[in-house]
């Protein structure tokens, strides 16, 4: 009875049940306008980096700001939960899609309150809107609220984006060249920032880079798999930038560090099961007929 109807009803209802209804998603379209700037402060527990980021729209999301910082200054980052949350910044944080894999430590999110102070972010970086002159902060550490989580140092946008030069170009950061060599003497935000705030970050850079970015030292790298960025470090490069510190970062390359034994096993298993299924079906239809 109604076999075709039944089929249709099934397919339609199952698809609808799982996907809801056709949904449109979209991010902000990139536009090349220059002008608005925001300050981004990232404290990975070992050092603090302050970056002046040129916004590509009047308003961008907190996540977009990080992407822009990566493009303009080579900040290394990794988003998780499907790109909705911040997993990794400046080489620190979980490498997978699960941003709380190292909980209780996680990346806390802060908004500058305009008076050099900080407010714990109530919304996610994906939905928070940042405009010209805003200050954003990210700190690595434990503590589920603004009262317990490590706070970024007092910052105002003027201290990071001093004498904004609209000519700042993001182009140089696209360099595909991995830069495995940590620079022993990083000088973040050298050129034009006042000495007060930004200098605090510099002393501890080298050990951090050595400890957390070397694949051989990472626990996950032991398994010979490929989640770590191939670039062992994102070191601060001395290359001059008119508007802030520049981080050089190796771009993600498709290659994997370790031998994908697991992957091979999985493929063999999958092929075996698929072929086994075919054989079973063929055997059965022979019996049946």
């Amino acid at each position: 009875m109604g076999a075709r109807l039944r089929s249709f009803a099934l397919v339609a209802s199952v698809v609808l049940a799982t996907i809801g209804a056709p949904a449109a998603t979209g991010g902000a379209a990139a536009c090349a306008d220059e002008g608005p700037h925001a300050a981004l402060v990232v404290g990975n527990g070992a050092r603090i980096v302050k970056l002046c980021v040129t916004l590509d729209a009047a308003e961008v999301s907190g996540l977009r700001l990080i992407e822009l910082a990566a493009a303009q200054h080579g900040l290394s980052y990794g988003f998780g939960l499907g790109g909705a949350a911040v997993c990794r910044l400046d080489g620190v944080g979980p490498g997978g899609d699960d941003c709380f894999a190292e909980y209780p430590d996680f990346w806390g999110y802060w908004h500058g309150d305009g008076r050099e102070g900080w407010a714990w972010a109530g919304t996610g970086a994906a939905s928070y809107r940042i405009g010209d002159g805003d200050v954003e902060g990210w700190t690595w550490g434990a503590g589920d609220t603004g009262a317990t989580h490590p706070k970024p140092p007092a910052t105002d946008v003027g201290g990071v984006c001093v004498a904004p030069e609209p000519s700042a170009s993001p182009s140089q950061t696209q360099s595909p060249k991995p830069n495995p060599k940590p620079e022993p003497t990083p000088k973040p935000s050298q050129p034009s920032s006042p000495p007060s705030a930004s200098s605090s970050a510099s002393p501890s850079t080298t050990p951090v880079a050595g400890e957390t970015r070397d694949p051989s030292a990472s626990p996950k790298a032991d398994k010979g798999t490929a989640t770590e960025e191939p670039s062992p470090s994102a070191a601060i490069s001395p290359s001059p930038s008119p508007s802030g510190a520049v981080l050089a970062v190796g771009p993600p390359s498709g290659g994997s560090g370790g031998a994908p034994v697991g992957l091979l096993v999985a493929i063999v298993l999958g092929v075996a099961l698929t072929v086994g299924g075919w054989l079973r079906l063929r055997g059965r239809s022979k019996v049946a007929t």
Binding site: R6, S13, A24, T25, F100, A101, Y103, A126, S127
Partner: protein, 269 residues
């Protein structure tokens, strides 16, 4: 001796308070199963954000099952053969009407739930919604994790139909039912979308944002609903209204007649 007998009503009068408690509890659990995307940050904080892709989902899928079971518990032991037979027959009608399926979000299945809920009361309406949805899931081979949600949501549609005022005239009763058909068409869609909406976490303005406040998420959700489901659910709402207006009276009359013949007084539930 001469006796005039009336068949017993559905369920026993004993334990009414327990039943009401159960009803409230079950509906709260059911509501939680659907509404958690709004309440998550408030109740769990970032520790749970860790598992926003899976943990809560699993928990609340279990809550959906629990709610379905709890609500079915309403009918425990006291349904009796007449109610079970009616549920079976009307559930079969739902299965049959689910087959031709869809014009966008509209399915003729809903008319059965609306009319039977209205004729036999909220408890029956709920049971029919859950039982019929379960059976149709089994029948078309559509068992899956979404089924408890569907069962509860359709059950609510039926229960709501049973709570409508009947009024003194057909006209009043039908207009109420038609209005409810429209409203429930949208509400059902809004509720059912909620279970899959948290899968959309891409940071857009209509995506679920596990870290955000309930108000933000609600507005995101409304935006999402408005963009993606409004037209879809409108088909359901319009279809419900049309069917109620065209079929409501004869079907209600048929159900009333059957109730009389079966000497049934389900409205005492």
């Amino acid at each position: 001796m001469s006796v005039a007998l009336h068949a017993p009503a559905l369920g026993s009068p004993a334990g009414t308070r327990a039943r009401v408690t159960l009803l409230v509890l079950a509906n709260l659990v059911g509501a939680a199963a659907f509404l958690w995307p709004f309440a998550l940050p408030a109740i769990a904080g970032p520790a749970l954000e860790n598992h926003k892709m899976d943990g809560p989902w699993l928990l609340f899928a279990l809550a959906g099952i629990l709610a379905a079971l709890l609500l079915l518990e309403l009918g425990r032991g006291g349904l009796g053969p007449k109610t079970v037979a009616l549920l079976g027959v009307l559930g079969a009608a739902m299965v049959a009407l689910r087959l031709p399926g869809f014009v966008a979000g509209f399915s003729a299945m809903f008319i059965v739930v609306l009319v039977a809920g209205n004729a036999f009361g909220p408890a029956f309406g709920f049971l029919l919604g859950t039982v019929g949805t379960f059976a149709s899931g089994l029948f078309v081979g559509g068992l899956g994790p979404w089924l408890p949600f569907q069962m509860v949501a359709v059950g609510w549609v039926g229960a709501g139909a049973g709570l409508l005022p009947h009024g003194a005239r057909w006209r009043t009763r039908l207009l109420w039912l038609a209005a409810y058909g429209a409203a429930s068409g949208y509400l059902y869609g809004a509720i059912m979308n909620l279970w899959s909406w948290p899968f959309l976490v891409d940071g857009s303005a209509w995506a679920w944002d596990p870290g955000a406040s309930a108000a933000t998420n609600l507005s995101n959700y409304l935006r999402f609903y408005g963009v993606t489901s409004l037209w879809w659910d409108s088909a359901r709402a319009i279809g419900n209204v049309a069917l109620v207006l065209v079929l409501g009276k004869p079907l209600l009359a048929a159900l009333d007649r059957a109730a009389r013949r079966m000497h049934l007084d389900l409205r005492q539930v």
